[in-house]
């Protein structure tokens, strides 16, 4: 099966038509821009992981194993800033989203191809600014930039980093606008809203948050820069400002940003679970609207980051209640995925293993979120390792699992090559194990009272910290595996058929890899998404048993 693709495929494929560097850097093809993003965020993922690795190495010893306090503080700041803004927030939307939105819609490209390319350049510029700030001088405020620490007391390079994150926001907004307009305007004939793949509902909800929340972050960071540069009193109490105002504004963006990170993951999981159960998504409309309600309710829960910050009792009670509400649509999704699997014809290929990992780990993250939405227990657990474990279960256990699942699932479509299935499954299992070993002990550490962002700690916490660091070692190896075999598959992987998983989406009806214009002629949609009966009927009208149409 392996070897170079046939000349006919090569000629039409977006990958091979005009291979000059210039054609890649000036491309307006959403598929190529998706790949440019894939390369950039992979680089940032590696950088952020190095920060995490150093943090975990340091915490092997109570007195700090390898770093000074100052370097440790810079490393966890780098890890947070890089992972949040240069990996997690863009991740699925700009890579898989860019690649898939037009394909899933049956369109030739996104609505604004030039804006799409601009967003990548903004992203790269913002990344370079952030990296410059982090390495020339370093920053030690944590990714949250709380004032007055960040405005008056830090010696680090707060300005370039803040400006980098500011620029990054414009890249997010450009992507969001592009997706919203495309989904409204570029749907193929017959593609009604309720025929859209759930991935697109999720990306639509994400885009709304991009467009509405990101400007608030931009304003906040500008105010911070003004205070830092010109000593205008906004947040600093000695200048007449209010330090809590910064937190209110910051979390008004940064809590919805959590849903920016997780919603696309949920979209990917809906696609994968349906495909590998060979069955329509159970409760399609509930899953679709739960994405929208998560995005909506997500805007009114930011105050739960401030239950011990000194806000009023009434605001705490209201935000606690909304925080419980926002977890209801997430629970709906989990139950519907389980309902989708029930009565299906389940195959456990690597994407499905990642998706099931997502469901399990996201559920742990969601349930531990209840501990933090509950006011009285939040007081004890917040700002400890419990919180660190909680959001890593959502962000890494959930979101990164979905991202890897999605990469494996669409890899054949993106590259025209199959990844080695055995290694895919090994990596998925190893990530699940390494992840739990890393982060589960941190729940206990947090309950025991170990504060986060500590370069040194009392000796009683060492055993759990060593376990956590050991898990991080396994996780590092597990994340390297896909990097290796994906690269290998580009050259040696088996030729991918157009629809290796027997899936229903429009993206599977075109060639792997797709031609530049995506579809030879505009597809016409006549069935619901995930209508396997219709698809199988076309494929083999005589088949009664729907088991395993393996590629």
């Amino acid at each position: 099966m392996s070897g170079t693709p046939s000349p006919a495929v090569q000629q039409r494929s977006y990958l091979w038509q005009d291979g000059t560097l210039r054609s890649w850097l000036l491309t307006r093809d959403h598929k190529r821009i998706g790949l440019l993003y894939l390369g950039s965020i992979t680089a940032f993922f590696v950088l952020g992981s190095i920060g995490a690795a150093l943090v975990r190495l340091q915490l092997l010893e109570p007195t700090g194993a390898i770093l000074s306090d100052a370097t440790y503080n810079r490393m966890f700041t780098m890890h947070g800033v890089v992972m949040v803004w240069l990996f997690l927030v863009p991740s699925i939307p700009v890579t898989l989203g860019n690649f898939l939105v037009p394909l899933m819609l049956g369109a030739r490209d996104l609505a604004f191809p030039r804006l799409n390319l601009l967003s990548w350049y903004l992203f790269v510029a913002s990344g370079l600014l952030v990296v410059y700030g982090l390495f020339r001088g370093g920053l030690e405020t944590g990714w949250t930039f709380y004032t007055p620490l960040s405005s008056e007391y830090t010696q680090g390079r707060v300005l370039p980093v803040v400006l980098g994150v500011f620029l990054n926001g414009f890249s997010s907004i450009a992507t969001g606008v592009n997706f919203i307009v495309s989904i409204h305007q570029l749907r193929a004939p017959g593609m009604t809203w309720y025929r859209l793949p759930l991935m697109l509902w999720a990306l639509y909800a994400t885009s709304v948050i991009f467009v509405l929340a990101t400007p608030v972050l931009a304003i906040t960071l500008l105010l911070l820069a003004f205070e830092h540069l010109f000593r205008v009193g906004v947040f600093d109490p000695t200048l007449g400002g209010d330090p809590l105002l910064f937190q209110q504004l910051f979390w008004f963006y940064s809590h919805p940003a959590v849903y920016i990170m997780i919603l696309p993951g949920m979209g990917v999981v809906s696609e994968i679970v349906s495909t590998f159960s060979h069955k329509p998504v159970f409760g399609y409309r509930f899953v679709a609207w739960s994405s929208v309600s998560i995005a909506a309710i997500g805007f009114i829960v930011w105050g739960h980051h401030m239950f011990v910050a000194g806000t009023s009792l009434y605001s705490a009670i209201v935000f606690s209640m909304f925080s419980f509400f926002v977890s209801v649509p997430s629970a709906i999704k989990v139950f519907n995925w389980l309902g989708t699997m029930h009565g299906g014809s389940i195959r456990l290929d690597a994407p499905m293993l990642y998706a099931m990992g997502f469901i399990g780990l996201f559920t742990v993250g969601g349930l531990t979120g209840l501990f933090l939405a509950s006011l009285a227990s939040d007081v004890h657990l917040t700002q400890t390792y419990f919180v660190v474990a909680h959001f890593h279960y959502i962000m890494v256990g959930g979101m990164v699992s979905a991202y890897f699942g999605g990469l494996h699932y669409w890899w054949p479509k993106i590259t025209g090559r199959m990844y080695p299935e055995i290694w895919g499954r090994v990596a998925a299992a190893l990530i699940f194990f390494g992840f739990n070993l890393t982060f589960f002990p941190q729940f206990i550490l947090g309950y025991e009272g170990m504060p986060r962002r500590y370069a040194t700690y009392p000796a009683q916490f060492q055993v759990l910290n060593v376990l956590s660091s050991a898990g991080a070692g396994i996780l590092a190896v597990a994340y390297l595996l896909p990097l290796i075999y994906f690269t290998w598959s580009l050259f040696r992987g088996a030729q991918a058929p157009d629809n290796p998983w027997g899936a229903t989406g429009l993206e599977w009806q075109t060639a792997s890899p797709p031609p530049v214009e995506n579809f030879a002629e505009t597809p016409v949609v006549t069935t619901d998404a995930y209508d396997y009966a219709a698809r199988d009927g076309r494929a083999d009208a005589a088949r009664v048993d729907e088991g395993a149409p393996h590629a």
Binding site: T238, H380, T384, Q460
Partner: protein, 330 residues
């Protein structure tokens, strides 16, 4: 590694809440992982025929309503349970021992009513309510005492309050849990909970330079407060409010501010009013009070707040402090 002790009845109630949350979580996790496993075992590709998809679609409404309302009901119960345990934190009992805690990069300064001071250490008696009045001289810190299951952020320029009644003796660590710069992880200290006799002994054996109230009274004169604010002893007339409102009976009273809303003048109000004088509703005084931000250090502010409280004799004061604080005025 030992399990985290509970050093107050509140800590025990929090642990019961956490146990409830853990039980609910384990039940849901059991359900999710159990169903996932069952599905994988029963419905592996090639083993079964696919169920009737059309029928499944019709059934879905019933399931959706069932699990959505079950989730909502459980969440609402948890919300009520956790909220009533949180509300108590906002209601310190009258007569609690008031201890002033000031955070600065990277240490905790502690002042007792009797004038004792210490750094990175806090001594309290068992069985009596203690109220910590927290503030910061620089960035935001957070005072966290895991054995009591409480913490609160410590903000520059204003007071925050944290209260507890410890119910067992022993030494336990407290932490700064809001990242505050270079030596954040070294900003910890020991909480020592003593029985009544040992606490009295500790107060007596710890050097003190005048009680907080005495210090505060001296500051009240030296900084010119007594020139405008009527107080029982230093203004010509305790009721002369031509230049400024009287501070007699101010502590614990309701004050209506210029923006219309009324607040109870507690310790935090007194502190914040000195640093950032508020406008009262309908007030017209000959002079306007200047801000004392940067003029008075936090330990002076603590003394002033302690003194002003003694001018409201009807409000129960901390009885314990008077043993070592001659002339406390109550």
């Amino acid at each position: 590694m030992t399990w985290l002790p509970e050093a107050s009845a509140h800590a025990m109630r929090i642990d019961i809440l956490l146990t409830g949350l853990v039980i609910i979580s384990l039940a849901v996790l059991g359900l999710v992982f159990g169903l996932m496993l069952l599905n994988v075992l029963r419905f592996r590709a090639g083993r079964t025929t696919v169920a009737d998809h059309v029928a499944a679609r019709h059934k879905s409404w019933g399931f959706e309503i069932a699990w959505t309302s079950a989730t909502l009901a459980i969440f609402f119960g948890l919300f009520l349970w956790a909220t009533q345990l949180y509300v108590v934190g906002f209601r310190p009992p009258a007569g609690a021992i008031q201890i002033y805690v000031t955070g600065k990069q990277w240490m905790w300064k502690v002042q007792y009513p009797g004038g004792q001071r210490e750094i990175n250490a806090l001594h309290v008696p068992v069985g009596r309510p203690v109220q910590l009045l927290l503030t910061s001289e620089d960035v935001i810190h957070d005072f966290s005492i895991p054995v009591l299951r409480i913490k609160h952020d410590v903000l520059p320029g204003r007071y925050q309050s944290l209260w507890f009644t410890a119910d067992r003796t022993g030494s336990f660590r407290f932490y700064c849990t809001q990242f505050c710069g270079l030596a954040h992880s070294r900003m910890t200290g020991m909480l020592t909970i003593l029985n009544a006799a040992d606490y009295a002994g500790w107060l007596n054996s710890t050097p003190a330079t005048g009680s907080l109230v005495q210090t505060g009274e001296a500051l009240f004169i030296r900084n010119g407060c007594s020139g405008c604010h009527a107080s029982s002893r230093y203004a010509p007339d305790a009721t002369d409010t031509s230049r400024a409102p009287s501070v007699v009976g101010l502590y614990g009273s309701r004050v209506t501010l210029a923006d219309g809303h009324a607040v109870v003048a507690d310790a935090a109000f007194l502190h914040d009013a000195i640093v950032d004088p508020p406008r009262r509703s309908g007030a017209s005084y000959a002079t306007e009070m200047p801000s004392f931000r940067g003029v008075l250090a936090e330990d002076d502010l603590a003394a002033l707040v302690a003194y002003l409280q003694t001018l409201s004799p009807s409000i129960p004061q901390d009885a314990g402090s008077s043993s070592n604080a001659a002339g406390a005025g109550n």
